[in-house]
């Protein structure tokens, strides 16, 4: 009897993806949790370390590549999406993750984030949003709420914050998701979805800065409120939340807005609760815009793939070396002979 041996599956562990470098974030920083989730995700997906590249800008989050045992490129402030675009144009086979914070990606690098998303370059873009500048010691950031007191805004900040997820949707991103640093069950799942999506995948991760903005997201991430103040959205499932799964989101009659409805005994459908359709950009926009007292939407808000940019430019593989008849190139057009 012939025994068919299954193809060898690479067993990888999260720690295989940790580099030998000492991690230098502040004790208790949310970045540790994200790093752990990332290493677990890599192991679960058995990613080949030699084909995986982390590209980052500047800031606390941007130190991330040093702690991964893959290839890594710590670039300059705000420009990681542009550098990563070049990486993909040269070698589309590489699995490229872009890491940055809210200042890096929405302030100095806002332009590049816009363009990498609208071009749909096949990158996984992870924005660690802690609503503050950490590495420069606590100034307010473009996602800080109005009135944020910081060294540069002692009287409270005046300018309205940008919503990262709404910015991504407005830029034309085809994949927009949200996660919370400490939610270790959901975060790896979201990262896996982002990895599986061909094209630019944008993930906003709410990340706690324990030193300069501790507890910024407590109102929807604290253990005692999480079930009432978060809604984890899943494609094809009703938009239901609450400790007793007794609340849902429906369209507010006569408007284009979401409202909370109490589920009766007949269940969500009878209460008019919407079913999450992640290919619906309008619904994703409504979900991304939810703010307390409404629950904050977590999970894959939007996923509607389209052909990726680098694929259209260079195809599937490493760009080939320049080849062709140089003499013919020089002799294009009119030439003449001098005897």
């Amino acid at each position: 009897m012939n025994v068919v041996t299954p193809p060898e599956k690479l067993e990888r562990k999260a720690k295989d993806y940790a580099s030998d470098q000492e991690v230098r974030w502040c004790p208790g920083c949310g970045d540790y949790a994200i790093l752990k989730a990332m290493q677990k995700t890599c192991a679960d997906l058995a990613l080949r370390p030699e084909n995986t590249v982390f590209v980052s800008g500047i800031g606390c989050a941007a130190r991330f590549p040093y702690y991964m045992s893959t290839y890594g490129f710590h670039t300059i402030h705000g420009r990681a999406p542009a550098v990563a675009t070049g990486v993909k144009l040269a070698n589309p086979e590489l699995d490229v993750w872009v890491i940055g914070g809210d200042g890096d990606m929405l302030s100095i690098g806002g332009n590049h984030l816009l363009h990498v998303l609208r071009r749909n370059v096949d990158l996984n873009v992870l924005l660690f949003n802690n609503e503050i500048y950490g590495l420069t010691k606590g100034q307010y950031s473009p996602t800080s709420r109005i009135g944020t007191r910081s060294p540069s805004t002692p009287g409270g900040s005046l300018d309205a914050p940008v919503s990262a997820a709404l910015f991504a949707l407005g830029s034309g991103a085809r994949f927009v998701a949200r996660a919370v640093d400490t939610q270790q069950k959901q975060l790896p799942e979201v990262l896996k979805r982002a990895h599986g999506h061909r094209g630019a995948s944008f993930v906003e991760i709410f990340q706690n800065c324990i030193v300069y903005n501790d507890g910024a997201f407590e109102h929807f991430t604290a253990r005692d409120v999480v079930e009432e103040m978060q809604i984890y959205v899943e494609h094809g499932r009703p938009l239901v939340f609450g400790k007793n799964r007794d609340k849902g989101l429906r369209l507010k009659p006569g408007s284009i807005a979401l409202e909370v409805v109490e589920l009766g005994a007949e269940g969500p459908e009878a209460a008019g609760v919407l079913v999450h359709d992640e290919t619906d950009r309008m619904l994703a926009t409504l979900l991304a815009g939810l703010q307390p007292p409404l629950p904050v939407a977590i999970g894959v808000l939007y996923c509607d793939p389209a052909e990726s940019y680098e694929h259209q430019v260079v195809g599937e593989q490493m760009a080939a070396a320049v080849e062709g008849d140089i003499d013919a190139l020089l002799r294009r057009g009119h030439t003449w002979t001098v005897e």
């Binding site: 420009r79 040269a90 003449w336």
Partner: protein, 622 residues
């Protein structure tokens, strides 16, 4: 009878002639000029051209600031510049006459379209009265032709609108000039048929206008002093030739360089005058395996190029001064992580937006010094349109051999000017194949070649070589982040030594003309090569002890340069800036070099250089 038939006269032979076509920026003067250039090259002349156009795409019609001009100098001898002064000016309107008059030779021929010489256009050009009638042009010969109505008449059977018909005016003027210099019209007929292949009506109308202009010359009774000329073929070395602009030669040189290196090319750029041409040309070279990327801004363009180099292609970016300024921080990153990168700067007038369409050489300091931190890179400059091919290959060679950014300086003049080029054979170029690192044994990303000090190039996708790099200082022995004081000193010294070591790998500086010692050396770089070499040749013919030294390698400078220049009593450095190379030479060699500055947006004239050289020989300030 006033005037005589030119048919009775033989063509007057000229050794060289300068013709300038000038009109509104919508009049098609650049196309007219390039067609005349092609026909002239095919006739066997040596030549040089200088397109001079406004920054506005279609400035208000008839205004002086909307005048676009194309100048060509062609001859039976070697031509080195587009010419100091104009023999024949074609002025399509009063503004074109006004702007270009000061560049005419005494007795020059001015051909005007009287159809455009009316009160409205005099007012737009700020002429108080008709300049053709007020005696102000008595020093010149004038040929007045109503080209507008002659063109309309010539194309009337082709069913064009009046506006379309008048657009053929430039071809009528070209036909007349073809007659005057005995040029064959066929290359232009072929070009029109190809260009307007989908609208044969337009092609035929333009051909009719071209023929009509030519026929007018043959049959009309022209005023005394208007005659035909012949400029015999130049004695050029035997071989196959083409006309080439600097932008073309640069694009092809970059393609050739990447092929010699065995690398893919990822060209990332953001549109900017006068550098955009390079992006257009390379976008058309996709069949050679070139990838082009029009980025969202200058910073993204260089960053994408750096990303491409990191991933194992050769990243190239291109811009002009203001765009290079934006790329500066990223250049520092490329220097710090030691990745190959070619940065092309087509210089233009500055500072700030400056003179976008005018030429200048004022970014030398920016190229050599303009970064935060001690951030050395290699800088090279092209001297002529066809030299851009050689310099582009050299830039790729240095970038890949030394794992460094290389700044390649051209300028607005070089990018747009054209000249005949004796085509090289690609087989004569020595390949310099890149070997990517693949051996995990003892690997770290900043392991260096002991000879070149270049670090290994280990690209993502290579098993066993996973590593992290970044703009933070790296440990010399492991490549890991290091804030160690002694290590930073060592890395800074190493980066400097690596670039300085390039001097051992470039040719010793030679002398273009003259002897290796003497009274005066004229030292130039970049596009001043043409006028300097003609001025030095003229003075040497007159028996003066003058030598010419022209630099390709600006940083590092050739190893023998200091010693060479010390052999001259005086060193004169003409530059289209306020004195940059001269300061570099003084700083490097403690040499009392004298500068000659011109920043008018126009190239040096030969006469200006001759005057300055005379002054320097006599020990006066130039």
């Amino acid at each position: 009878m006033e005037g005589t038939s030119v048919l009775a006269q033989p063509r007057q032979e000229m050794e060289s002639a300068v013709v300038r076509f000038a009109g509104d920026s919508g009049d098609g003067m650049q196309l007219t000029g390039s067609q005349f250039t092609l026909a002239t090259a095919l006739a066997g002349n040596d030549l040089a051209t200088f397109p001079d156009f406004p920054a506005e795409i279609r400035a208000p019609v008839g205004t002086t600031y909307g005048v676009s001009a194309f100048q060509i100098n062609f001859g039976a001898r070697t031509i080195r510049t587009a010419g100091d002064a104009v023999d024949v000016l074609v002025a399509m309107n009063p503004a074109a006459l006004k702007v270009n008059r000061s560049d005419l030779k005494p007795g020059a021929l001015i051909i005007v379209d009287t159809g455009a010489f009316n009160a409205k256009n005099f007012a737009k050009a700020h002429y108080a009265a008709d300049p053709l009638e007020d005696g102000s042009l008595d020093a010149y010969r004038i040929l007045r032709v109503d080209m507008s109505s002659a063109t309309e008449k010539a194309v009337e059977s082709h069913g064009l609108t009046k506006k379309e018909a008048l657009r053929c005016k430039n071809m009528w003027a070209l036909g007349l000039i073809y007659w005057m210099f005995g040029r064959d019209r066929q290359s232009t007929v072929d070009w029109l048929e190809t260009k307007f292949g989908k609208t044969p009506q337009i092609a035929n109308a333009n051909i009719a206008a071209l023929n009509a202009g030519h026929a007018y010359g043959e049959t009309a009774e022209l005023p005394t002093g208007v005659r035909t000329y012949s400029v015999p073929a130049a004695k050029l070395p035997a071989g196959l030739y083409r006309n080439v602009t600097g932008a073309e030669a640069l694009a092809w040189g970059l393609v050739a360089g990447c092929k010699l290196a065995g690398l893919p090319m990822t060209f990332c750029s953001y549109p900017i005058t006068p550098a955009s041409q390079l992006l257009h040309l390379l976008a058309g070279a996709k069949s050679y395996g070139v990838t082009t990327f029009q980025a969202e801004d200058e910073i993204a363009a260089i960053c994408a190029a750096i990303g491409a180099s990191y991933a194992g292609a050769l990243g190239i970016t291109s811009s002009s001064g203001p765009g290079i300024a934006l790329k500066t921080e990223a250049l520092g990153l490329a220097i710090s992580v030691e990745l190959p990168l070619v940065v092309v700067n087509s210089q233009r007038g500055g500072p700030s937006t400056g003179l976008p369409t005018k030429t200048e050489q004022s970014d030398l300091f920016q190229a050599v010094y303009g970064r935060n931190g001690d951030a050395p890179l290699a800088v090279i400059a092209s001297r002529s349109p066809h030299d851009c091919f050689e310099v582009a290959i050299e830039a790729v060679r240095l970038a890949t051999t030394y794992m460094t950014p290389v700044m390649l300086l051209t300028d607005g003049y070089l990018a747009n000017a054209s000249e005949p080029w004796q085509l090289p054979s690609f087989a004569d170029y020595q390949p310099f194949p890149v070997a990517f690192h693949s051996d995990p044994e003892g690997f770290h990303p900043f392991r260096r070649d002991p000879e070149t000090l270049a670090r290994v190039w280990a690209k993502p996708g290579t098993p066993g070589l996973m590593h992290r790099i970044g703009g933070i200082e790296k440990d010399y022995d492991s490549g890991n982040i290091s804030y160690d004081p002694a290590n930073h000193q060592r890395m800074t010294d190493t980066r400097a030594a690596k670039i300085a070591g390039i001097a051992r790998d470039i040719p010793a500086q030679g002398v273009e003309q003259g002897s290796e010692r003497g009274r005066l050396a004229v030292v130039g770089w970049g596009s001043t090569y043409g006028p300097i070499s003609r001025a030095v040749a003229n003075l040497r013919n007159a028996g003066e002890d003058v030598s010419q030294v022209h630099l390709r390698h600006i940083w590092p400078l050739p190893a023998n340069l200091g010693e060479l220049l010390a052999g001259y009593d005086t060193v004169l450095v003409p530059e289209m800036n306020n004195g940059q190379l001269v300061k570099l030479l003084r700083a490097e060699y403690l040499l009392p070099a004298v500068g000659l500055s011109k920043v008018s947006g126009k190239p040096f004239k030969i006469a200006e250089l001759e005057t300055a050289i005379h002054a320097a020989l006599e020990g006066r300030e130039p």
